[in-house]
């Protein structure tokens, strides 16, 4: 249940910027942003740690950092990039004290609970991880931002400090190279 007229309930369809502005004084607005981005932040953190507990810890830290930094956010239509810049920083701190290149298949919860459905999926994930082992840390990070965080090329560029065109090019080349590796792995 939420209140209707006084104060006004945040519009769930408001833009990120409108919600971010409202969230400085209205925790329900922050709640809407939280629900919009929770899965994406968690998946990004999980993709970088392959550890559910660490992903939870990092996700918590990201949202608490965001809450604290919200008054300094300039609403320019860049909330996702701003949030994932925080997430990137937090995850970088984590990586200073942990091993790189996490592979998440073994860490996925409930992976063994549906053996008949999951066998193929598990195989394709392990297959993919063999391809991922050939990538650099930067290339992996690009994939994590694109596919786990769900960022566009432009957003990814903002987080990485590169132009949208540069990210598009890097992504395209990476997929092309991975396709070759993917085929080789298939043949083996």
């Amino acid at each position: 249940m939420s209140r209707g007229k006084n104060p006004k309930v945040p519009n769930p369809y408001a833009s990120d910027d409108d919600l971010a502005t409202a969230a400085r004084t209205d925790r329900r607005a922050f709640g809407l942003l939280y629900h919009r981005y929770l899965d994406r932040v968690y998946r990004y953190a999980f993709s970088r740690t392959a550890n559910p507990a660490a992903a939870e810890e990092l996700t918590s830290a990201v949202f608490l950092d965001a809450l604290e930094a919200l008054p300094r956010y300039q609403p320019q239509g860049t909330f996702a990039a701003w949030l994932f810049t925080i997430a990137r920083r937090r995850c970088a701190d984590y990586h200073r004290s942990s091993s790189p290149l996490p592979h998440i298949t073994e860490a996925l919860p409930d992976f063994d609970n549906q053996p008949e459905l999951e066998a193929d999926r598990r195989d394709s994930f392990l297959h993919l991880e063999r391809v991922l082992r050939n990538l650099s840390r930067e290339e992996l990070h690009l994939l994590q931002l694109r596919y786990a965080a769900g960022l566009s090329h432009a957003e990814t560029g903002r987080v990485l400090g590169k132009s949208e065109a540069a990210v598009k090019m890097a992504h395209s080349r990476l997929i092309h190279r991975m396709r070759g590796l993917w085929e080789i792995e298939h043949e083996q």
Binding site: M1, S2, R3, G4, N6, V9, P12, Y13, A14, S15, D16, T25, D26, R27, R28, G31, Y34, Y37, L38, D39, R40, R43, F46, S47, P52, A55, E56, T59, F63, L64, L67, Q76, G77, T78, F79, A80, W82, T105, A107, L108, P109, S124, F125, H127, L128, L143, Q144, Y147, A148, G150, S152, H153, A154, E155, G157, R158, E164, M178, R179, W182
Partner: protein, 505 residues
């Protein structure tokens, strides 16, 4: 794009999307964020204190209990009587008086102009609740809840469940701080921890100052150690209160709303309200809430923003759905707070302006993408959906252009104009009984939350509802598109009322 690429990108997407945060973590973090929000726990202006006589309340309560015993039976009366042993401590909430321990006097440490004070510390067999206050910190200081903990003699820390944070400018006096050069700021933080181990008669609270005290280092720690006494001895209860269960409810469509507990204390009136709904997602937006007595007096709100209650009626600062005893119903609990009710009031009415529950639509429609979609392209879809007793029909699906929220943070352009959008127009064939369709929520496989917010206009009327999705070719890998009709909000105009008699009046 060949099949190989599609397959690789599909697996990549599935691989990186495979993990999801657990429900318990989601709720826990939601609670923590709600509590950490600067507006959480904000101290309300002091309400007027009416002349409220303890004797009258006790006699009234006894009379009410006698009457209730005769009318509704001993079991429920016993539940009510049990509540009489709970005490409402401002800032802490309801506390079981008989077994609780508490801090007798506030414990404080002052250094370099900064004061760290444990103002309340109440231990029950369920939990430990604490209120700490900081004075002398910079106005924009942020005290990390994790920098404060309760340390046991073993060196272990009590697990923290939630923390709330608020600021108080009361030191400026009733006139406020306006016009004053100095703006002394008091920070208040409320914590809920695990209970202290049985037998502990003292507590040790640690604050890692994190550089907030002038001249201190990041790792400097201040420690407050204090004895605990039985609550009844430690607290001088001068706050008169009346606690009862009015057992009143109303139903609007699939929703039920019940007032479970009423606490009429000298400083506020607290209503514990339960909202029942057919599913977790069906939470209703509720219009303006007004508390009125039998003489027409209206009591102002003291901040009854949506809050969750645990089984003891304590406020955890956010709404969390819990499964009720009925198999297919869910309930949420809220605490509403109003100004104190006048002593001569005999009856109370909670008036609700409107209720707008979300109905699960659980429908979807598919269509084939044009080869090169462009503005003006129409896609034939003829599908209707029964939602909340009414019928919505997809009247048209077409491609339009519009401005969408875009990324570039540091560039002048902050939005992308002339982007291709998929516009879905719904016609209201039959409105839901007693209400109006208000908001249609759509989902599509390629749309992340970021892309669900193209600029309005969304036009909603009693006949037509329009929604737009961003067409993002970067993320659509198949020509077959499926759009999911997720939820529809149904607006039901009130006012709806819940009334009850105050026991003993």
């Amino acid at each position: 794009m060949n099949n190989n690429t599609t397959s690789l990108e599909s697996v990549l997407s599935e691989y990186y999307q495979a993990a999801s945060p657990s429900d318990s973590f989601t709720r826990r973090l939601e609670t923590r964020l709600a509590a950490a929000h600067p507006r959480a726990g904000r101290v309300q202006p002091a309400p007027r204190r009416p002349a409220f006589r303890l004797r009258l309340a006790v006699i009234g309560l006894i009379l009410a209990l006698s009457l209730t015993l005769a009318v509704i039976g001993p079991d429920r009366v016993w539940a009510t009587i049990q509540r009489l042993w709970q005490r409402y401590i401002p800032g802490i909430g309801l506390v079981e008086e008989t077994s609780a321990l508490a801090l007798a006097e506030p414990a404080a440490h002052t250094e370099a102009g900064v004061t760290f004070e444990v103002q309340e510390f109440v231990v029950t067999d369920q939990e430990t609740r604490m209120i700490v206050v900081f004075r002398g910190l910079p106005e924009d200081a942020f005290v990390d809840p994790d920098s404060i903990w309760v340390e046991l003699p073993s060196g272990n820390r009590l697990r923290m469940y939630s923390a709330s944070f608020g600021r108080n400018w009361s030191a400026c006096g009733t006139a406020g701080c306006q016009g004053s050069e100095e703006k002394p700021t008091e920070f208040r933080m409320g914590f809920v921890f695990d209970p202290l181990p049985p037998g502990e008669k003292s507590a040790q609270v640690v604050w890692q100052t994190a550089g907030l005290v002038p001249g201190s280092t990041w790792t400097d720690r201040w420690v407050l150690e204090f004895p605990l006494s039985p609550l009844a001895e430690a607290k001088d209860f001068t706050v008169d209160q009346l606690v009862y269960s009015p057992d009143t409810s109303l139903s609007v469509g699939d929703m039920t709303l019940s007032v479970i507990n009423v606490i009429q204390a000298a400083d506020r009136t607290v209503l514990d309200v339960e909202e029942g709904m057919p599913s977790r997602e069906a939470v209703a937006q509720v219009g303006e809430l007004t508390l009125i007595d039998d003489q027409g007096r209206r009591y102002g709100s003291l901040g009854h923003s949506p809050m969750d209650l645990d089984e003891q009626g304590q406020d955890y600062g956010s709404a969390v759905a819990t499964e009720s005893t009925a198999p297919s119903r869910y309930s949420r609990h809220y605490r509403l707070q109003f100004e104190p009710v006048a002593p001569d009031a005999k009856n109370l009415t909670l008036e609700i302006g409107s209720m707008s529950p979300r109905a699960n639509a659980a429908g979807s429609f598919d269509f084939e993408l044009p080869e090169q979609p462009k503005e003006g392209d129409r896609v034939p879809v003829n599908q209707s959906f029964e939602v909340a007793g009414g019928v919505l029909r997809v009247a048209s699906v077409r491609f339009v252009t519009g401005t969408v929220v875009s990324d570039p943070r540091d560039e002048p352009a902050t939005t992308l104009a002339d982007q291709l959008l998929i516009e879905v127009e719904f016609e209201v064939v039959e409105p839901p009984p007693g209400g109006l369709y208000k908001i249609v929520e759509l989902k599509a496989g390629w749309t992340g939350p970021y892309w669900m917010n193209p600029d309005p206009p969304y036009s909603d009327s009693s006949e037509i509802l329009v929604r737009r999705l961003v067409y993002d070719p970067d993320r659509i890998w198949r020509s077959q598109v499926s759009i999911h009709l997720d939820h529809v909000t149904v607006y039901r105009e009130g006012p709806w009322t819940l009334s009850w008699d105050i026991p003993g009046r």
